[in-house]
Symmetry: C2
Subunit: 123 residues, 2 copies
DNA sequence: GCCAAACTACGAAGAGTTTCGTTGACAACT
DNA sequence: AGTTGTCAACGAAACTCTTCGTAGTTTGGC
C-alpha cells in the first residue's frame, strides 16, 4: 500500500484538471499560465504513465482527465506531512497551519463545526 | 525570502537532532536505525553545507546540532502543503488530516482550545 | 496540392537526491 | 610497531524531476 506522492509540477497539473474537468494540454497549459507548452505536455504524459491521469486519444488533441480523487490525494499528502514532519500530531500540525496566516473569517467557525461533528460521531 | 524545504532524508536527520540535541553521526545513525552509516553521514554533511545544521569539529567524532528551529521549519512545510495542495484552505487541510486517523483522545479538545485562543486573540 | 499552425512524441541536458564504495586519518589495544 | 576499528571525506553511480529543442504528424486555409 504505497502512498501516492505527486511532485510539485504534477500537483499543479492535477489541480488544473480537477478544476477544469477533462481538458486538452492546451487548456491546462493556459489555466496554469506559465512555462513552456512542452513542459506541460510532458508532465501530463508522465501523469498518464503513472496512472494519475487518463487520456482519450480519439481527437487529435488528446483529452486528459484526473484518474484519482482529489480528496484521496490530499489525504495522502497530509498524512505524509503529518508523519514525516509532525510525528503524527494533528494538533501540532494545525497549530503551525494557523501560526502564520490569519484564518479567514469563516474558517475558524468551520473548523469548530468539524470538531463538533467528530465528537458527535464518536459519541 | 525563500522557503526552506528539506528533503525527506533531511527531515529524518533533523528530527533525530531535535530529539537528541547535539549528537554525533553515530548517535543519529543509531537513532534512525536504518540505512548505511555513510548515507547518514553524507546527509548530515549536506545539512551542514545548507546551513540547516552546524557542527563542532573539535572532537574526532564531529558533533552536529540543528541550526534551525523545528517550529519554523514545520510552519514552512505546512505552508507549502497548504498552498500547493489545498489552495490555502486550512479548514480543508484539517478535514483531510482527520479523515483517516481518528484523533487521539485529547487531540480534539486541544484543537478546540487552539481555536478559542485564536478567536479571543482577534477580539 | 502546398504551406503554416497545432499537436504528439522523443530524448537529451541539467539539477538535485540518495546510496555506498573507497580512501586516508586517527585511536586503541597488544 | 602492527593490527583492528572508527571516523570524515570524496566522488561515482543510479535515480528522479524539470525543461525544452527537435522531429514528425495532422488539420485547415489558400
Amino acid at each position: 500500500m504505497s502512498r501516492i506522492r505527486p511532485t510539485a509540477g504534477e500537483w499543479e497539473i492535477l489541480q488544473a484538471l480537477w478544476k477544469l474537468g477533462p481538458a486538452t494540454v492546451r487548456a491546462v497549459h493556459e489555466e496554469i499560465g506559465a512555462g513552456h507548452y512542452n513542459t506541460t505536455l510532458k508532465l501530463m504524459q508522465i501523469l498518464a504513465e503513472k496512472g494519475l491521469a487518463a487520456r482519450d486519444e480519439e481527437a487529435r488533441a488528446h483529452v486528459y482527465r484526473a484518474a484519482v480523487e482529489r480528496e484521496a490525494l490530499q489525504a495522502d499528502a497530509v498524512e505524509d506531512v503529518l508523519e514525516r514532519v509532525f510525528g503524527g500530531s494533528a494538533a501540532e500540525l494545525m497549530q503551525r497551519a494557523l501560526s502564520r496566516r490569519k484564518p479567514k473569517k469563516g474558517e475558524l467557525k468551520e473548523l469548530r463545526k468539524m470538531i463538533d461533528a467528530w465528537e458527535r460521531g464518536k459519541g
